[in-house]
Symmetry: C2
């Protein structure tokens, strides 16, 4: 399983307020803006802000004190690679949260929790480019 | 404030067990191994595993249900840049957790919580290289 990250998603309570912190406050520029999610391209990977409840629902990880509100994603180059990474994570002892499935945004995505409860997404997003060195551009 | 990330740290309960998951389980290779922390170099940034209680103590963020167990770090090129980033984050509405100070590992580090409670470290680490594009090599 590739040693790389494609996306970090932070669950937020009020997207407009959180965007203002990063954009007006810190000076960051969004790469892709949608009604419920905003992506910032960083060197090597992207960071997204997404509603905390929506993120919990997407990851099938209820907000019960165990969900950190942060997800780390590794994007595969194909759906088959996503399936293979998911199987490998489970074989290594991870807990399945959502087996990879068609995603509403047009890709393919699953989630697992690692041994410490951190939530990882494995996804195939046809709209993002995975470079030969593993860095990802959204 | 630069739009980039240097390090993601995941708090873990048992470092040896978590390392086995990432190394034997997923096939990742450590870049730097210490008794209490292990770094994995990824494209553009690094990921560290560090004891959850030690991470909470370092970030001055008690494990009280509000700490996610994840920290995101931006490394500055100097202590002055760390101070400037810290001031900017506070001016934007962040909550100071630890003002930048000398760190036991030989660098300089402070922490803030963003508007949603996510914990960010700002650090100067003389041992890591920040490339012109903002990617960071440990």
């Amino acid at each position: 399983m590739d040693q790389r990250l494609s996306l970090i998603t932070l669950g937020v309570d009020d997207l407009a307020r959180s965007r203002a912190f990063f954009e007006q406050g810190l000076g960051w520029n969004p790469k892709e803006e949608h009604e419920s999610v905003c992506f910032y391209q960083l060197p090597g990977l992207a960071l997204a802000l997404f509603g905390r409840a929506d993120l919990a629902e997407d990851a099938k990880r209820p907000i019960d004190g165990r969900f950190s509100g942060v997800t780390l994603a590794i994007n595969g180059r194909s759906r088959e690679e996503v399936d293979a990474m998911f199987s490998r994570a489970l074989a290594a002892g991870a807990t399945a949260l959502k087996a990879p499935e068609e995603a509403v945004w047009g890709g393919y995505s699953g989630y697992f929790a690692d041994l410490d409860g951190h939530v990882w997404e494995l996804a195939h997003n046809p709209g993002c480019v995975i470079h030969p060195d593993g860095s990802t551009t959204f």
